[in-house]
């Protein structure tokens, strides 16, 4: 092991207010502010690699109030500590918001799914993470809590740049909220999720597209596209969405949407893939999705 644990302070808490009090403490001159530790599947890797900044960590794993999935008339809410395994096991969530279950299934192997949390996935802010595209496709909301209260942020507004986010000092992500559409919402729904990596299991994505669409006849009534690994942040493709809503879903519209998406995403070359490959695959995924929307229409 390369790391020196004596540079790290860590403390467990039993209640949310206790956690918030620590997080609200002013930064220590040498150790910095308190930072949350959840399932540790990102933090412990960086700790072992020697890249985790020395400092103070508050272990929120014991906070049962941040666990579990709640269904109300308006929404399904996931506590920030909800694990991938818990997501996969929740029948109603899997039925109404299947993309989240597909993302959870694609995330690491069982032992990772038993420990990794949705809050940690969001706050770790990797552009290659697997739940963000699904959260964008469903226009999820985040609940952030600090000693000064609770606020709600649209997830599409949360990431502002590479590893930068709208999380104020002292705030913890406490909930992820998925609004349930009214049961009489018009049109047929399409849920699409595809992660492209080096192999089926356990690979970090090269490109990931999640989409939710409503289609009536030849027209899309609504579409939301969430992309991973093609920009400094998980990307909601609003310009491509507007193109797709502007007319009947025919070959000409698909071509325009592809041209827009090619422009809207900004993939990079890195160890996992090249920019050109990622852009090509992104467009292929869009076409596959739109073909799925069209074939559903003919049923």
């Amino acid at each position: 092991m390369s790391h020196n644990l004596s540079d790290f302070v860590a403390q467990s808490v039993q209640t949310l207010p206790e956690a918030l009090r620590l997080l609200a403490e002013p930064a220590d001159p040498s150790l910095g502010p308190w930072r949350p530790l959840a399932g540790g599947t990102d933090l412990m890797v960086t700790l072992a690699a020697g890249t985790l900044p020395a400092g103070r960590y508050v272990d929120i794993w014991p906070l049962d109030e941040l666990r579990g999935i709640t269904v109300t008339d308006q929404a399904i809410e996931l506590g920030a500590l909800t694990t991938y395994t818990e997501i996969r096991q929740h029948a109603q969530l899997m039925t109404e918001f299947p993309l989240l279950g597909l993302a959870a299934k694609e995330t690491g192997a069982i032992a990772i799914q038993n420990r990794g949390t949705i809050g940690g996935n969001i706050a770790n802010a990797s552009p290659a993470a697997d739940t963000p595209p699904a959260l964008l496709a469903y226009d999820a909301e985040l609940e952030l809590t600090s000693l000064s209260g609770v606020r709600t942020v649209a997830y599409s507004q949360f990431h502002s740049g590479y590893k930068q986010m709208d999380r104020r000092p002292g705030e913890l992500i406490t909930k992820v909220r998925l609004r349930r559409p009214p049961s009489d919402a018009p049109g047929r729904t399409v849920h699409y999720y595809r992660k492209v990596g080096t192999r089926a299991a356990q690979a970090i994505s090269k490109v990931c597209l999640a989409a939710f669409a409503r289609i009536d006849g030849a027209r899309l009534l609504n579409i939301r596209l969430g992309l991973g690994s093609v920009a400094p942040t998980p990307l909601r493709c609003t310009r491509t969405e507007s193109v797709l809503l502007s007319g009947p879903l025919d070959e000409a519209l698909i071509r325009r949407a592809e041209a827009t998406l090619a422009y809207e995403c900004s993939p990079i070359d890195d160890v996992r893939s090249t920019s050109a490959y990622r852009r090509r695959v992104t467009l292929n995924l869009l076409r596959e999705l739109l073909q799925q929307c069209r074939s559903d229409r003919r049923e």
């Binding site: 092991m1 790290f8 860590a10 403390q11 412990m44 960590y57 272990d59 192997a109 032992a111 038993n114």
Partner: protein, 169 residues
């Protein structure tokens, strides 16, 4: 911190840093070297153990999160000194282990899989062991061992001799 936890049914106590890896607590502080270290970053599964019945990678679990918890390691899998667990038995019979470094993790992952899917398909075996890497066997013998284990009775043969004889044939 003073850490108290239950390992393989026995309460143990040691002094560790709260962020020490459960893997090191087991191997170094509690002298249980059956749990192996491969990658140290969650990719290989050699360090798999159960925490409160859930499969985890012990290299990613900080000591502070297992205070008061119930841990099962490979050392606690066989029901007695004479008797092996059915998964261990199947690995022996079907050549599921070569150098053995991945084996403790494979066996625990297989047990987690069989708890969820008592009669797993090959696809389920592959998914269930997807987090466990092996550089020796080429996996086929491991997957075959797990399928074979599913056909063995979960309870010790002393309690169910006829069923074991049945399964052996």
């Amino acid at each position: 911190m003073r850490l108290t936890l239950t390992v393989n049914g026995i309460e143990r106590t040691c002094d560790v840093h709260p962020l020490a890896r459960l893997l090191d607590v087991l191997r170094r502080d509690l002298s249980l070297p059956g749990t192996k270290e491969g990658c140290g970053e969650g990719e290989c599964g050699a360090c798999s153990v159960f925490v409160d019945g859930k499969l985890v990678n012990s290299c990613l679990v900080p000591a502070m999160q297992v205070a008061g918890r119930d841990i099962q390691t490979i050392e606690g899998v066989a029901p007695s000194a004479e008797l092996l667990d059915r998964v261990q038995e199947a690995f022996l019979r079907h050549g599921g282990a070569q150098c053995g470094i991945c084996t403790p993790g494979m066996i625990l992952a297989a047990k987690a899989l069989l708890a969820e899917h008592p009669q797993p398909t090959m696809a389920q075996v592959r998914e269930g062991l997807g987090g466990n890497l092996c550089r020796c066997t080429g996996y086929t013998k491991i997957f075959e061992s797990v399928i074979a284990a599913a056909a063995l009775p979960a309870i010790p043969p002393s309690a169910q001799p006829s069923a074991l004889e049945e399964a052996k044939r």
